[in-house]
Each structure stands twice: as C-alpha cells, then as structure tokens.
Symmetry: C2
Subunit: 390 residues, 2 copies
C-alpha cells in the first residue's frame, strides 16, 4: 500500500500551480476552483485519529424566483476491512462496524442528510475466491439483519438517510441471496430496497455464482431530502440502467462499487461512466468504491494463466461526486479510508435540463421502436455495404 | 488565440515527468506510454509549412490463433476557416478546400485508410447568427456537390475512405436542408450518407432553424477497411444513439463536432462522452471538433443577457481517438489545425467484448419492455415514497 499512488489529484497538486492548475481544473473538473466546504476542526481531528481522510465540496446553483434553494448534504464512505479474513464472520463484521461508525459519526456531526456506503460494505469482497463457506454467512436480512439494525440507530440519531449495500439473504423466497442496497430513512425505518440489475461476467469473474440479476426494477426513493436511486457496481457499464433511474425521477444516483484495477473495472474508466451518466441524465451522481487490498485464507486462480494467489488486487477508492452539468469534485484517495461530503443545490438539475434539453431531444419513442426490432432473433442490421453496391 | 491554452496535454507535459507522468498517463489515458506512431519526416515538414499539427498513436491488440490482425489507419482532421466570413461563398469554400487538401495530402502519404473531417467542414459554423443568407448557399448535394467532387478525387487518389460532414440540400425532396455525413469509398464513389439524428436546443441555440432530425436511421457502412458509422455532434449526448450504431455492427464510430466552450458543449465533457460510448458499446470512437474563433459580419445576441457580439466563442479542437477498452490517445490542440492518425487493430473490439461481456449482460429485452412503458402518456414512475409509507 505504501508504494501506491495516493490519487491523480495528488499528482496534480504536487506538480501544478497558478494558471496551469486553474486551466487543468477547468478542463478536467469543469471549474477553476473546486469550492471546498468548510468542515469542523473536530472532523479533521476525528479523521486523523481514525486514520481516514475527510473532504467536502460545494455544488451550488443559481437563485430562482419561485423556488427556494434545495440544499442537501450528501456523503459517501469508502473503507477497508477492519480485521483479517481468517477471523470468525461475526468478528470481521464487528470490526467493520467499529470502523464505519467512526466515519458516520463525523458525517452526522457535519449535518449530512444522505449517506451511502460502498458495495457489500459489511463483508470482504469474497467472490474472487468462488468459495461458499464461510462467506455466505455474511448474507443477512434486508429488513432486520445486523447491518440494518446497526445503521438504523445511526440514521435515527443523526436524522440521516443511509444507503446500505449488503449481501441479502431472502428467507421468505427460498433463502436465496441478492446483492441489495437497503435505503434506511432518517427515522431509522427501512424505506425500501433495490437489487443489483446487472451481474459481472468479466473474464472468469462471475458473481452469478452467488446471486442473480435483481427483480426490483429501477426504484426511486422519495426521501425527506430528495429523490434518490442506487445503481450497484457493474450496472454502471449499462447506459439504459442509468437512464431508467432518470426516467423514474431520480435526482441523485448513488453508484456503490467494489472494483479493482483489473481491466473490467479499470481505473481509467472510473472518471468516465458516473460522469457521463450525470451528463446524459441531468442528475447528480456519486461514484463510490471500496478501498484496499483484501487477502483471503486460501489461494485461488483468476482464469488469466497466472499462478494461484490470495488477493484480488487493489480496490482503488477514488470516490467522487458529479453534478448534472458534468462538473465533478476531486476524489478521495486510491488507498485510504475516507468520507467525502458534497453540499449540493438540487435546483441545479432543472436548471441544466431547461438549458440543455437533452430529455426533450432524446426521441425515446423512436428508440423504443428501433430497439424492439433489435431484440428480435431475425433482426437485420442496417448495413450499407461497399461490396453489395459494386 | 495566442493567450489560449494549447491543450490539457501540454500542461501535463510541461509539468510532469518520470513516475508522476507515467501514473497520470495510466489513470487518465489508460496506459503508461502513449505509443506514438513513427510518422514521416516529410509529414512534419508539410505540417510546419501548412501551419498545422500532425501526430499519430498505435492501438494494438493481442495476436489471435485464427484471425490475422486487422490493422487499419484512421485519421481525423480539425481545421479553422480559410478566409474571413464576409468573402463570397465560393471564395470561402475554396479557401477551406486548399487548407484541407494540404492536410489530406499528408494523410494520404501516411497511408491512412479512413479519414473523417469535422462537422460542416466546408462552411463556417453559421447557425449562431440565425441569418439565412448567404449561409444557406453553402448547402450542397450529397451526391455530386462541390465538396463531394473535391473529396472524391482525393479518396480515389489515396485509396482512402473519406467521411464528409456537410450541409446538404436535398433537391429531390422539396429542396430541404439536412446536416449530413457523406461516406465516400476509396474508389471515389459515394457509398451512402447519414443525417444527424438529434438537433441541438441549448439555451437559445437551436439548429432546427436550419434543418430537422435526420431520417436515415443508424446506418453502418461496410467498407474495405472496416464497418464504420458517423454520429454527428449533439447526438453524442444521447446514449441510445451510440448504442444503435453498435447494434448495427459499427466497429468505429466517428463523431464529428462543432462545439464551443459554452456550457452545452463544454470542454470538461469532451473527454467523457465519446469515451463512455467506446466503453459501453465496445467499439473504437473518434471525437472530432472544429477549431478556432469564427467571426461574422453582423452582430447577434445569444439569449444570455449579454451584449450583441460577432463571434460564437472558441471551438476548442482537442480531437482524439478512444479504443473499446476506454484507452485514449492524447488529443490535438485546442487552438491549432491538426491531423491525428491512429493505427488500430480492429481485433481489439472482439477481444474486449469477449472479456467484459457488456452486450451479453445488457438485458436489452427487459429495457425494451421498460422503455415501452416510459413513453406512454400515463406512465407511472416507480417511486417508493417515505411520505406515503408513514
């Protein structure tokens, strides 16, 4: 970990200054100055003690005549494991809870309204092992499992909506597993859940060994602070997935991930997809990635001709927020735990939509017709061939 | 122009070196080294004389057992006007031809197989004026207009497929105008055309004053060198547009633009959309933008409360190529004319598709059903509300 680069941002900060830095920020982030939020001294002290980073940025909007600003504080958390993966399941989980509680406490003190944890936050990212035991023991109820109980208390304490992406065990439907994000309202009650829509098959890495494509559609959760959706991990590679959450009225789409530097979840794609989604759908997005190397008790291969190994590579963190105009803030570290806060004015969505008219010009009815043909088995592609012509 | 930044790349080259530069390249471009193509001395000499830049990069693929490599040389051209916009139409056009011929000659000598020009390359980007005369005189036949004749000769001379995005006048259907890309095969014959699918309405800027949404679907052109498509300008904001060209079998999608630093075509979105499209659809993309400030004889306003003016702002060039894995090459300048060459192995597309399985996991039939409901007037959004629940 010590040799790993902290972040692209850290390279830029170290080497650029003055006009060059301003111009880089303008072209890369979308603004010359990244508008830091003023956070409390106590937050930085708690972060130092807990060995995580904390940062915050503002995403303002223009004042309107008829609507007051809709200022909401959002936060995302990226964290590594709390202890080694050869410990008993409950010990591993408890160690994560303790780590995450420290971070959520800071978010609570900063007045965060909606917070999202990383994908499968309450367990190691075990799927690379292809072992079922003991890992399936981490699966839990989306109604009253230990992780939900743990977060419900914090949600109620801080009046905070908390999104909890877990491995769900659905006892009432044949005891099957799902990759599920549970939305806990600021009262501490479970508001609802969404199950991951697209399951990775990348090289030999196939999460459908553990759970299948979700059956919850594209729900949007109307909370006291705004309409939110959760698009889980691999679904970020599918434009239609992002689009459907927009069609259902999402104002903020949280995208919790567990992705490594392997090709399928590659770091050079990290800045692209959640940002493209924000632009094309005119909503805020939050890209969240777990962080750190996770090592497992038994060795496994990865279908790449390389020797058996015990780790899955670096989950590279780098969580960030993006506005509906495509403007993003600097990301968290590639290697350290962190809390990233964004103070956003949700009025920005409509302001950008009214200006850019992407929905108005999208011709959705036309594409419904086109795609209806594409899915037919005998679809004939629209090809104009040089060879047929001559 | 002299105070304008040359490119984001130039900031990086100036300030970064060694490990920092490698790491920036790895995270930003997707590779540590940008694999420059060795170009001829005569190309650099011609570029210097013609006052444009020339650069080339390789996009290799792995060797396969059963398919030979499919190496193709692609090129894009970005250029400013040849003379001032108060000159007679034919003089303006001739000046552009002379400038573009110099650049295509270099591409020809470098063995380029497929070349794409910028949007509406044979005229100034006049729509900001909202004047009809003399600008509509630039419209021409997509079969045998002067620009097609000019390029047909060069295409045949260099055995080069040339994509010519023009303002089309369709005499055989009521003399209407279209924003059209004409594909000229390497024989010099017109292979076919595509008309722009989505028309900008951004702020007061509305190109449907001049032409309407195209009626040519999403054609893919099967040429001697590969299957290509052309997605024109504003259509890049629409994920389904990119997707349909992929569904029809495109291996390379050229995206010619005329976009300025105004919000709707903002520079910080430039690196995002053509790259996201390459990733989500597993094909090569080329993002092409015209370059320079264009000034018009009469002043006009832009619906932004600012005083009347005579220019539309900087078209910021920055043309680049991206592979199906999301790896891109450095872009051309923000301010200078240029020729960018990419030597790509088209086998890369299938290699990435087989590895990442994005098509296989896209659930298109499911989305056809969902979107069919969305377009109904009485669509009820899937919202889980905290307020209804309590």
């Amino acid at each position: 970990m010590e040799n790993e680069l902290h972040s692209l941002e850290s390279i830029i900060e170290k080497n650029l200054s003055g006009h060059d830095l301003e111009e880089f920020n303008r072209i890369y982030y979308g603004r010359r100055d990244n508008l830091p939020l003023k956070l409390k001294e106590s937050s930085f002290a708690a972060a130092e003690e807990g060995n995580f980073d904390v940062a915050g940025y503002a995403f303002p909007a223009a004042l309107e005549h008829t609507r007051p600003p809709r200022i909401v504080r959002l936060a995302v958390v990226q964290h590594s494991l709390g202890t080694s993966t050869d410990k008993p399941v409950h010990e591993q989980r408890q160690a994560i809870y303790e780590k995450v509680k420290r971070i959520i406490d800071v978010a609570g003190e900063e007045g965060v309204n909606i917070l999202c944890l990383q994908e499968l936050w309450s367990l190691p990212y075990v799927f690379c092992t292809r072992e079922k035991q003991p890992w399936c023991e981490f699966a839990e109820s989306a109604e009253d499992g230990p992780s939900i109980k743990f977060l419900s208390e914090l949600a109620a304490k801080y009046n905070m909506v908390i999104i909890s992406p877990i491995l769900e065990r659905d006892e009432s439907h044949g005891d099957v597993l799902w990759n599920t994000a549970v939305v806990i309202s600021e009262t501490g009650a479970v508001l609802g859940k969404h199950r991951k829509n697209h399951i990775p098959r990348v090289g030999d890495f196939n999460e459908s060994t553990y759970y299948m494509e979700g059956n919850t559609g594209h729900p949007v959760f109307e909370t006291r602070y705004g309409r939110i959706a959760v698009l889980i991990c691999f679904g970020r590679h599918h434009s239609l997935n992002w689009m459907m959450f927009g069609n259902n009225g999402a104002e903020i789409v949280f995208n919790p991930n567990a992705t490594t530097a392997a090709e399928g979840g590659s770091k050079w794609m990290w800045n692209i997809e959640a940002r493209n989604a924000a632009i094309h759908n005119t909503y805020f997005t939050a890209a969240i990635n777990r962080v750190g190397y996770e090592t497992f008790p038994n060795e496994f291969t990865s279908g790449d001709g390389k020797p058996a190994h015990k780790d899955f590579g670096l989950c590279y963190g780098s969580s960030f927020f993006c506005g509906p105009d495509g403007v993003r803030c600097p990301g968290l570290s590639r290697v350290r735990d962190g809390l990233l806060i964004a103070e956003v004015d949700l009025n920005k969505n409509r302001q950008i939509a009214d200006r850019r008219c992407y929905r108005m010009t999208q011709r959705l009815d036309y594409y419904v017709q086109s795609l209806s043909k594409v899915v037919e088995l005998d679809y004939k592609r629209q090809i104009i061939s040089e060879f047929e012509k001559q």
